[in-house]
């Protein structure tokens, strides 16, 4: 009974609310226009004294050409008594609509529509989209530069970016789901995937997480990464942030999900395992031998960059008996005058390099280069000549810094920059064992990490031998006939082997 009564009551209140909202609507379109009129760039006028139509728009976001050519002439010629519907029919612009709902009116007015109202009919409004978006033209990729291959990079406009992707994947299966995020910014965010090829579960996870975002301003795609990341306590990036449309098209066809954010020249792609952060897209433009060798070099560089200084500190502080006799001479010669213990020496030099990098990154390119030269050559040599640091360590630190630049993904480079400090400290405390312990901790962390719910260390753990073909090294194209198991694609086959089989020919055949 109680339930029944309540439902009756709620029905009644619902009806009330409906009525209320109707009257509210009447008031609020007017209110909205009043509120908008406070801004200087809001224009509100009638074509002439006896015209029935009021025109409202923000002149800062609409394209005046559209207004002048396609909207105003029709309004001028309109007979008195023409309804909004008749005007809508005449105007040769797509997706015009007659709206009653305040929300829609507000949203489209603020995203570049011209609002037309008829005298005496304040309930309805005709919305004619005439948006003008300022954007720069497509330019070269600067963060992920490649010598060979396409030289297009994303720009700050979502539509232009979608264009760059869709022209590379002209198939109806390429799904673009759009949603608006951000209480203040109302940023358009697009989730892109290829139906069937991508696992629906991944796509839904991504979509769901973005939908659940409650944040006031979403300025850039990096905001989204930080909010939807699997583990926000981790300093490892769990999604790739790329500016190359070719890379996005590539990973989409692998079955990954991409996210574009309006106003950001970057696309997010995921799920991303750790090894992908060390693969440059250029690897696919080179022959597989070279690509594999470069990838291995990069992995080695990362390892070297992280552990070389800590190892120096560990060996110099605790395990000097590990140094072979022939190496002992140069080491003693370069360290004999240095007044600091190895750890202090190492930290000073590491910090100097970090300073240079930070200074270089924040300065205009031309000054940045000067800073690099001044810092790298002058400070380095001076420090050694003044006897503050040893030559050997200077070489190690510089090499480590160089090695850390080899990571093709910028965020990963930052992680590697930072990660060596805990190693340094632990090396100071417990030497090689300290380094080992820190490594174990980081390994444990990596084992626990996931990217969109998929294991981060794959294909190494869980071991997927098939996926190794494009992980630590890259095997030839014809061996890439399957999508990574990691992606759980519904269509694991990328192509059939029919045309790729080589016949086993005899000599001179």
């Amino acid at each position: 009974m109680i339930i029944h009564r309540r439902s009756k009551k709620s029905k009644k209140s619902a009806r009330d609310a409906e009525k209320e909202s109707e009257t509210k609507n009447l008031l609020e379109i007017d209110d909205l226009l009043h509120q908008c009129k406070m801004s200087a760039d809001f224009i509100s006028f009638r074509y002439s004294e006896d015209s029935e139509y009021y025109i409202h728009y923000f002149k800062s976001i609409i394209n005046p050409d559209i207004l002048h050519e396609f909207i105003l002439p029709f309004l001028r010629d309109a007979q008195s008594g023409d309804t909004l519907f008749m005007i809508q029919e005449k105007v040769s612009i797509d997706s015009t609509k007659i709206v009653k709902d305040l929300e829609t009116v507000r949203d489209s007015l603020l995203t570049g529509a011209v609002l037309v109202q008829q005298k005496g009919n304040v309930e309805e409004a005709l919305m004619i989209p005439a948006v003008a978006i300022e954007k720069r033209s497509v330019s070269m990729p600067e963060v992920e530069y490649s010598v060979v291959g396409p030289k297009e990079a994303f720009v700050e406009s979502l539509d232009a970016n979608l264009n760059l992707i869709r022209k590379r994947l002209p198939i109806p299966e390429l799904i673009v789901k759009e949603l608006k995020v951000g209480r203040l910014t109302k940023t358009r965010v697009a989730v892109i995937y290829i139906k069937e090829v991508a696992n629906e579960e991944n796509a839904n996870t991504m979509y769901q997480r973005i939908e659940d975002i409650d944040f006031d301003n979403i300025i850039d795609s990096s905001f989204i990464t930080q909010i939807i990341t699997d583990s926000s306590s981790s300093f490892f990036p769990q999604m790739i942030d790329t500016e190359r449309p070719d890379r996005v098209a590539g990973v989409l066809s692998e079955g990954k999900i991409a996210v574009l954010v309006d106003g950001s020249p970057h696309a997010l792609t995921g799920p991303t395992p750790l090894v992908e952060f060390f693969s440059a897209f250029e690897d696919y433009f080179l022959s597989w031998h070279l690509a594999s060798a470069f990838r291995l070099i990069r992995l080695f560089a990362v390892f070297f960059s992280v552990v070389s200084t800590p190892l120096y500190v560990a060996v110099m502080t605790f395990h000097y008996e590990m140094i072979p006799q022939n190496l002992l001479n140069p080491l003693i010669a370069s360290r004999s005058g240095v007044p600091f213990p190895p750890i202090l020496e190492a930290i000073i030099l590491e910090l100097t390099i970090e300073l240079l990098r930070e200074a270089g990154a924040r300065l205009p390119t031309k000054i940045g280069q000067t800073i690099g030269i001044v810092g790298g050559i002058v400070i380095g040599t001076a420090a050694v000549q003044a006897g503050l640091t040893s030559n050997v360590l200077l070489i190690i630190v510089a090499l480590a810094a160089l090695a850390s630049f080899t990571t093709p993904v910028y965020q990963m480079g930052n992680v590697i920059r930072l990660i060596r400090f805990p190693f340094l400290l632990s090396a100071q405390f417990y030497g090689l064992l300290g380094v080992t312990f820190t490594f174990a901790l980081i390994l444990g962390h990596l084992l626990k990490l996931t990217s969109l719910g998929r294991p981060y260390l794959a294909p190494v753990y869980p071991l997927r031998l098939v996926d190794l073909k494009d992980a630590l090294f890259r095997l030839p194209m014809y061996s890439q006939k399957e999508r990574p198991i990691q992606m759980r694609s519904h269509v694991p086959q990328r192509f059939s082997m029919k045309h790729h089989k080589k016949r086993n020919l005899d000599i001179e055949e």
Partner: protein, 362 residues
């Protein structure tokens, strides 16, 4: 009463290989040569093979028990012996896992103290290693499996350095072949048992294996591979050291690393001990996981709580074993306990379970 784990917590059957192998190769291998060479001298390698074969038989029995019970040891005990007696046996197993952890941890600590940091208090490394292991076990069985897999991979390069002692060895040290009595072999095989201990963790993680019945062959491969590793290590040690030298070499495998002569590293054993940490860590993690999981199942407490409790227990008892003598005693005791557990208890459980099954049917 004892629900099986969810599918997304399970691991593929082939991981049994890494889990069992990493559990069998631990600290023991760093110094097992002296112990088994005491009795069987240059023919101790026969004992390794015999022990390996026995282990395969025991794994076979374990799988029969587990396939019949289709659950972990706690549930099987409950089914076979009832709540109280079964509970007692389960408690014994939990303590047994914990004591395995204790032995491994304390022995590795001993190695660190003797070889790397003689001046640092024992508790420092015990605490650090336990904290790291705790961090892993908190992540669940999949993380534990992960470290056991990576541990096996990281440990493998150490086989390569066997090249250096072989280069300087005398194959004649292995002669005369088969000059050994049955009694001596028996003693050596018994001594080998402690090294092969650890496959009993199978009893705890069995439900966590996908298609567990199919994982049996991986368990055999694991035992065979462990036997192979022990065999290679033993033979290389025998080739390099004479029997007389071996009597006074406590950590024979570690001493072998000292011989390694690389142009950029002297004293390779420091590197070896560090790499070995990744072989030890899975041992500790699996042991802790098994013990805490057992307590969680037996007493219905949160596994996090039981894990903390066991970590604390292990740490405190590890502090008790202060010097070399005590650590040696600990090793002997655990060797005895392990011996009885695997040689007597597993067959016993097998028989009782079979009888109970028949009895329940009728």
């Amino acid at each position: 009463m004892y629900p099986l784990p969810k599918e997304d917590k399970q691991v593929s059957p082939y991981f049994v290989f890494y889990l069992i192998h990493s559990m069998q190769v631990g600290v023991g291998i760093l110094g097992f040569e002296r112990i088994i060479a005491q009795s069987a001298r240059q023919n101790a390698w026969i004992a390794v093979i015999i022990a390996g074969i026995i282990m395969i038989g025991l794994v076979f029995l374990s799988y029969r028990i587990l396939n019949r019970g289709k659950n972990d040891i706690v549930a099987i005990h409950h089914d076979v012996f009832g709540k109280w007696i079964g509970g007692m046996f389960s408690l014994y197993f939990i303590l047994y896992y914990a004591i395995l952890v204790l032995v491994i941890l304390r022995t590795y600590e001993e190695v660190i103290q003797v070889w790397v940091f003689p001046d640092v208090g024992a508790w420092v490394f015990l605490l650090i290693i336990l904290l790291i292991a705790y961090y892993y076990v908190i992540g669940g069985f999949r993380v534990v499996t992960g470290i056991s897999f990576l541990g096996v991979i990281y440990g493998l390069p150490l086989l390569l350095v066997m090249y250096f002692p072989l280069k300087n060895g005398h194959l004649g040290n292995l002669l005369p072949l088969f000059d050994v009595t049955f009694r001596e072999l028996y003693e050596a095989t018994k001594g080998m048992t402690l090294n092969f201990l650890g496959f009993e963790v199978l009893f705890m993680f069995y439900p966590f294996i996908k298609k567990a019945t199919k994982s049996e062959k991986w368990a055999y491969f694991a035992v065979i591979f462990s036997t192979f590793i022990y065999l290679v290590t033993l033979l290389v040690t025998f080739v390099y050291f004479s029997q007389e030298q071996l009597k006074t070499t406590i950590w024979a495998t570690l001493s072998l690393w000292k011989i390694v002569d690389l142009t950029i590293i002297e004293r390779f054993e420091y590197v070896g001990i560090c790499i070995w940490f990744f072989v030890i860590l899975p041992n500790i993690c699996i042991g802790l996981w098994c013990a805490s999981r057992g307590m969680h199942r037996l007493f219905s407490i949160r596994q996090k709580t039981s894990l903390r409790f066991i970590c604390l227990l292990v740490l405190l008892s590890a502090l008790f074993f202060r010097d070399r003598q005590l650590v040696d005693t600990l090793n002997d005791i655990v060797s005895q306990i392990g011996l009885y557990t695997i040689y007597f208890y597993i067959p016993f459980l097998y028989v009782v379970q079979m009888i109970m099954k028949r009895w329940k049917k009728t």
